[in-house]
């Protein structure tokens, strides 16, 4: 039997993404976001998560997709080594169970920032589910942040 795993899925229109369900802390409706001036473009702002201040990452920006309005974005809060971080996404999907048999590494034709952050693709019956590498998504951002002062 092929190993199965559960993915929390969401949409960054027109794509369909997934994150391993055990990394996801919770999913929230659109929150009041406080923008952070002078911050990296992919930082959507700050949200108040029951008294804890959490950085929201504009995932569309991360992936080089055109921006959508942050006010309507859903939050996928993931646990990281540095505490909780929220990803801003367009729409939340179901938790789906996938099997390793349907997994493939990113296709060669996939280019640009998306390829860097994608672990692979599951071939579902009616669409493709892209698995996001959350650690890489955050690291890429941090590296950019470190580079910034030097280029200023």
């Amino acid at each position: 039997m092929a190993a199965a795993q559960q993915l929390c899925t969401f949409f960054l229109n027109p794509y369909f993404f997934g994150i391993e369900v055990h990394k996801v802390q919770e999913v929230l409706r659109p929150q009041d976001i406080t923008r952070v001036p002078l911050s990296d473009a992919v930082v959507g702002g700050l949200i108040n998560l029951r008294g804890q201040i959490v950085t929201a990452i504009d995932l569309r920006g991360c992936l080089g997709l055109e921006a959508s309005r942050n006010e309507d974005s859903m939050n996928v809060v993931v646990r990281t080594e540095e505490g909780a971080v929220s990803f801003l996404v367009d729409e939340i999907g179901d938790v789906v169970e996938v099997e390793d048999g349907g997994f493939e590494p990113p296709p060669d034709t996939l280019e640009g920032p998306v390829r860097e952050l994608v672990r692979g693709v599951y071939k579902l019956k009616d669409q493709l589910l892209i698995v996001l590498d959350t650690a890489k998504a955050l690291r890429q951002k941090n590296e950019e942040a470190e580079l910034r002062p030097a280029t200023e």
Partner: protein, 763 residues
């Protein structure tokens, strides 16, 4: 965790505390060798350590402390005088014990170091053979309960001799069932009153050590503190919500919630407070050792060691304080010969003072040493390219001294193993500023140096001013706040003046550099007007600047939360907080903001320096606007007479009544060509024209110059009396410069316009 582990843990904590105290007491004892109370306290601490380490099975610790105890008991009984050699030996005993305790903590055993030489040293100082020393000790304590026996207290109080107690004890052991106090009173060796008093002391000591305090894990305290922080925020929210309600019952409930929360907050903060003495206690020992190593004589004086501070802050200032004291001994205090030659007492004094003021704790560390030679700092600053010679010549002492905080800056001629490497003072400053404090330095050559440190009582909850800029709220910690200025709604923009691209505001005659918060944060809305702006006057690094914001909301207690790692790059923010309505607001880092703002405009930084010196020397200094008129004439006018600097396109210049005019802010403003007025050689005319706008009797007059050069700040003494409209000539920036009498010039220009044919300055 087993019960034994618990006991050992407690032993470690208690022993460390005890040793810190002994450290202090020993140094004090050196100064006052006859202080019986000090000796008794040291003796008790060492005795306790010996007893406990014996019970818990740390033989090495037991053997060295035993030797120490014997030595101490002889000193206590007056059989041995206190000497520096004994003090040193006892201090090394303390150090040895500390190391042993550290080993117990890390690997559960005190072994790992040879204590025999230390024991030998202590015994030889005791001056008796080991067996006698030990037996004297046993004699006094065998079969007795813990310390603070009645007899001991009576001896300490000076009512009894050791001998009498021994006799009474012997009597008790040989069958007398009465209490020791009764025996002593019975034999008439002591008056009953003294015994009652001693019993009181005994009870005090007992209760103080057991019932009135408990030990609490710091992590637990932190957790409670965090929760209270959350509660404060929830309270803020409830109070805000209650404002919309008319239910009297609810309102009074909110009111009491409000009060209780405030009290709880205060209580929890107090729980975390530690006396600054906890840090200072370590200093006498440090001073003693350092002074000996440097061959100097230094005394430390402390005042206000009961001043309380939050634990985290105590931790944070420990190293900076130590460093400052080290520096003071190594560089500040001179050698005894130098001091004698300078007519000062041979012994140098470092004094520490702590006191509360306005929600902050002020620390004052001063020495009476050689002071900092400003000239040497200047030379060093020049060599390192920190300031130009011109800047240095202009800068006041107050501006020069803080240069010692620049990384890598050391004026010490020789590098010692203690200090002088140039790392240090910058670390001190950074650490203090990290916790929201400020450092100020004053120094007088030959008289000493003093450092003023201002630190907040606590880090967790700070009062802040909430402002709005471009629709976003920002919190500004009140420590940096100086005052608020509301710009008149109708003439808001006119009060903001412009000097070479840098916006300034005249605050009681001094120019205050302005920073637009929205522009600084890159969220400026260019369509917005300058109406209804507010100036928040802030202070950072001893400099004042005005922050332009849209709205000033309120002051609020905020709970500072750090920003996530992803946002560490912004120098402008110190953290974030949640507001009453549940939204997040960013906390501005005033210092970072000021620094960023300087980076943005080179000009502004120059302005900044200027206005500062102007403040420092306002009695005899004035700011001058330097400009070029015609092809090569350098002229200056007082900056205070300049309303604005404008660039006007030639195509906008119109002619009216034989006078060049321009429409300016709904007025017709005459233009006066300065070069023409003074009949100077004309420069090739530029487009747009550089115009200095001056208000003359309510009428704006524009002076056309060929170039605006600079703003300088200096004392100008006109040397030659000039012609008309001329105050004289002075040397500014090493160049001969004409000082224009701007009012006379304006007068003449307007008159000339009325009499078209006459040349301006003819006769």
């Amino acid at each position: 965790m087993g019960e034994l582990d618990e006991i050992i843990k407690e032993f470690l904590v208690e022993s460390n505390e005890g040793l810190d105290q002994v450290d202090c007491d020993l140094v004090a004892l050196e100064k006052q060798p006859d202080d019986k109370e000090l000796i008794a306290r040291i003796f008790r601490a060492v005795h306790t350590l010996k007893g406990t380490s014996g019970i818990l099975g740390f033989p090495l610790l037991e053997s060295v402390t035993h030797a120490g105890e014997s030595l101490l008991s002889r000193i206590r009984d007056g059989r041995l005088p206190m000497t520096p050699a004994i003090a040193s030996a006892l201090l090394s005993l303390i150090d040895f014990s500390r190391r042993a305790i550290q080993r117990v903590e890390s690997n559960g055993s005190d072994s790992g170091e040879d204590g025999s030489s230390l024991v030998e040293q202590l015994r030889s100082l005791t001056g008796v053979s080991p067996s006698i020393g030990a037996s004297a000790d046993v004699d006094l304590y065998s079969g007795q309960p813990e310390t603070h026996r009645l007899g001991e207290i009576l001896v300490e109080d000076g009512h009894l001799s050791q001998q009498a107690v021994h006799e009474a004890l012997a009597q008790q052991q040989s069958g007398d069932s009465r209490k020791i106090g009764e025996i002593l009173v019975g034999t008439g060796t002591v008056v009953p009153k003294a015994v009652v008093q001693a019993l009181g002391t005994q009870a005090d000591v007992r209760s103080a050590s057991s019932a009135s305090t408990i030990r609490v894990d710091v992590a637990m305290l932190d957790r409670v503190m965090n929760l209270v922080g959350e509660l404060v925020l929830a309270r803020n929210r409830t109070v805000q919500f209650a404002a919309t309600s008319a239910d009297a019952g609810f309102l009074s409930t909110v009111q009491s919630l409000n009060l209780i929360t405030a009290e709880l907050q205060e209580g929890v903060m107090k729980m975390r407070m530690l006396a600054i003495g906890n840090v200072w206690n370590k200093l006498p020992r440090l001073v003693r050792d350092m002074a000996q190593a440097c061959g100097k004589q230094v005394r430390i004086e402390v005042d206000g060691s009961e001043t309380e501070l939050d634990k985290t802050i105590i931790e944070a200032i420990k190293d900076p304080l130590t460093h400052i004291v080290r520096n003071a001994i190594d560089h500040g205090i001179e050698s005894p010969e130098e001091r004698r030659n300078a007519g000062k007492p041979v012994e140098g004094v470092i004094s520490l003072r702590a006191f509360h003021e306005g929600g902050y704790v002020n620390l004052n560390i001063s020495d009476d040493g050689g002071g900092i030679d400003v000239e040497r700092v200047k030379a060093k600053a020049l060599a390192r390219g920190l300031m130009s010679s011109e800047q240095l010549a202009r800068a006041s002492e107050r501006e020069i001294l803080p240069l010692v905080f620049v990384p890598g800056f050391s004026t010490a001629e020789k590098v010692t193993n203690i200090s002088g490497r140039g790392v240090g003072m910058d670390v001190v400053k950074t650490n203090i500023e990290k916790i929201g404090g400020t450092v100020d330095i004053h120094s007088k050559v030959g008289q000493g140096t003093s450092l003023q440190i201002k630190i907040p009582l606590t880090l967790a909850i700070v009062p802040a001013l909430v402002v709005t800029s471009h629709g976003e709220r920002f919190a500004i910690p009140q420590v940096s706040l100086v005052e608020l200025v509301r710009l008149d709604a109708t003439s808001g923009s006119k009060q903001i003046e412009n000097v070479r691209g840098a916006e300034v505001y005249r605050l009681r005659g001094n120019l205050l550099p302005l920073v637009r918060l929205d522009r600084q944060l890159g969220v400026e809305d260019r369509s917005a007007t300058d109406d209804n702006l507010q100036i928040v006057v802030l202070q950072a690094d001893g400099r004042q600047f005005g922050l332009l914001v849209d709205e000033i909301n309120d002051t609020e207690e905020i709970v500072v939360k750090p920003l996530g790692k992803h946002l560490k790059n912004g120098a402008c923010f110190a953290g974030a907080t949640t507001m009453g309505d549940g939204r997040v607001a960013l906390i501005l880092d005033v210092r970072g903001l000021a620094q960023e703002a300087h980076v943005v405009s080179e000009n502004q930084r120059a302005m900044h320096g200027e206005s500062l010196s102007a403040v420092a020397n306002k009695e005899d200094r004035q700011q001058w606007l330097l400009f070029k008129a015609g092809a090569n004439a350098r002229m200056a006018m007082p900056l205070s007479s300049v309303q604005r600097l404008e660039e006007i396109r030639k195509s906008d210049v119109e002619r009216s009544d034989n006078q060049d005019v321009v429409q300016y802010r709904g007025q017709i403003m005459p233009l006066v060509n300065v070069a023409e007025s003074f009949r100077l050689e004309q420069a090739t005319s530029s487009d747009p024209l550089e115009v200095i706008v001056h208000a003359h009797r309510g009428q704006s007059v524009g002076f056309v110059v060929s170039e605006v050069l600079d703003v300088v700040d200096q004392t100008v003494v006109p040397e030659l009396s000039g012609g008309r409209a001329m105050l004289g000539t002075a040397v500014i920036q090493q160049r001969v410069t004409d000082i224009v009498d701007i009012d006379q010039l304006a007068e003449m220009a307007l008159k000339a316009a009325a009499q078209p044919s006459a040349a301006l300055i003819g006769a």
